[in-house]
Amino acid sequence: MVNKEYNVLKWKIIAAILSFSLIPLIVVGWFIYSQFSTSYQAKINDNILSMAESRRNSLELFFEERVSQLTTLAHSHRFPSLKNEDFLLGIFNTMQARSKSYIDLGIVDQNGDHIAYVGPHKDLRGLNYKNEEWFAATMSSGLYISDVYMGFRSVPHMIIAVMVRETDMTWILRATINLDIIERVVRSAQTGKYGDAFIINRHNILQTNPRFVGSILEKPTCPCPDFSKTINTRVEETKCGNENYIFASAAVNTTNWVLVVMESPQEQLSALFRARERAEVLLILGVLIIFGGTYMVARSFMGKLVRMAKEKALSDEMCFQSNKMAALGKMAAGLAHEVNNPLAVIGEKAGWVKDLLKKEGMPEGPHIREIADSINKIEYHVDRARKVTHRLLGFARRMEPVMEQVDINKLVNDTVSFFSNDALFRNIKIITELDSNMPLVTTDSSQLQQVFLNIINNSVDAVDRDGWIRISTKVDRISNKVEIAFEDNGPGIEQENLSQIFDPFFTTKEPGKGTGLGLSISYQIIEYLGGKIDVESRRGEGAKFTVSLPLRVAQLDAIG
């Protein structure tokens, strides 16, 4: 019960220390991590946005250059010269000399007839574009940059068309743009394992081949949200399945396109995750160390507390015992004294009657014999009562703690006499084998008697009924000590209990029968008197307690 309370207290202390040390640790850790994470996230957003912007700028520059090149070409030459394919090829080659930005070049007249063509697809020559969407748009606005479309050849391509209005006629310079260049620009933004980049038009149709989210001329698949309405730039995080994705979109001016860059934050944040993993390992280590330290501190603290409490209880108990014995001694002395006086009178009177009878020369007669007999009986019982009161007084006297010359054998006999009735009743034979050469020992007889009482009491309890207790005294001149051995044929002491029997509060008796202090106090007393108690026992074979005391001790101060 007591131990349970101590256990609860121990865990309370541990919990208190842990919460005081762990809560700040975790709060600080979480705060630093969240700050770090926020700024890292912001940095990732910045990175992806700036990547999208730079690619967008490249694309814008590319288209601006193409438009201005084509516009310049269209306006600096006349229709008749340009419709000459050899001339047109010359110009095309010049334009391609520096960069392979174009696939082909063609001239379309106001009726939509493709009248001149240079490029790899000769079959395009002579086709009529009158019904094509781009033709009408170019005729109305003068400049047209198409989305990617399949066209006649069913190959994805895009064109830039410039309309030139001369006095007598209108014609169109049409150039097919090399999609590889655009793809290359976009692909350069496809970073990492899961990064993607692609272009969509204003109808959310893919204009380039992305890595993951679909294929050209289709709507982008999960996880890409619809970025087709992007005005300038936008950063968005979205989820597809269990994965998080981060997107940056940038509208490409001069075209109807939006450049989208996609990244997997898992990948981008892997440094952060690694840092978090390490921090978590460190945190767990820290928690373990704190927990271990706390547990050890609390345990040793509680151990000390329990030890102190036990010592306190023991000294309280000893104090209580000695107070009790002192009070008992006083009472016994007072009682004995009060009884002794009348006893003395009875004894004297009986003695006087006896004297008188003798004086009368013992006259014959049955009554006289009866009287003499009664007188003898009275004297006998006065003597018996005298023994009782003297033993009481002896007991009382021994309650005073003093070092004196003690006759150990007499002390043993006195102590045994306390048990004679109980032993008789329980049919326990108390055998004493006392060394007749036993010298007087300088020790404290009352304390020693207390020890004897405790040990014999335990033996009587152990034997319970029908057994024997053998008490022997012995003097060992070689090692200069006397030994008092108490043997019994009780059930003995369990092996695992042997080391504990002198511990305070250790008892094998039924609850309420033993305090668990008898042997503990005895041990302390004997230690104080300079001796020691040994115990030998085997299960089922009884127990033997041996008290040894030094024969000559340095003068000890009286116990007080």
Binding site: A333, A336, H337, E338, N340, N341, L343, A344, V345, I346, G347, E348, K349, G351, W352, D355, K359, V382, D383, A385, R386, H390, L393, G394, A396, R397
Partner: protein, 136 residues
């Protein structure tokens, strides 16, 4: 041994009277006193060899009486009588010059034995003193 003059001082009259009677019966010249004061009175009037003195008495207690006796009549032997087997009063008595002490209740034979010893010592002391006086 015969004729030793003994004064029994005890506040218990039954006890005191009986002891006196029994001592007389055994050939002693015994008298009784009820307390310390009458003891001193009797000693002042009559020469006594041994005083049997109860330790616990109303008025003047045994130890006090003992001190006074030893002061006035140092040759008178005193045997302390105690119902209280406390070592301290016995030892204290011995220290104050009592010959011995007897615990109540006792066997008369023990007391007589002690009386004989005390009387012997008294006589030896007296002899010594008278010899010393003769020497002078």
């Amino acid at each position: 041994m015969q004729g030793a003059k003994i004064l029994v001082v005890d506040d218990e009259p039954d006890f005191q009277e009986t002891v006196v009677k029994r001592l007389i019966d055994r050939g002693f010249e015994a008298a009784g006193a009820d307390d310390g004061y009458s003891c001193m009175e009797i000693l002042g009037k009559k020469d006594m060899d041994i005083v049997i003195l109860d330790v616990k008495m109303p008025g003047m207690d045994g130890l006090e009486v003992l001190k006074k006796i030893k002061l006035k009549w140092p040759l008178v032997e005193v045997i302390m009588l105690t119902g209280h087997a406390s070592v301290e009063s016995g030892i204290q008595g011995m220290e104050l010059g009592a010959f011995d002490y007897v615990m109540k209740p006792y066997k008369l034979e023990d007391l007589v034995h002690k009386l004989e010893h005390a009387y012997e010592r008294k006589k030896i002391q007296q002899d010594k003193i008278s010899k010393a006086k003769e020497g002078n």
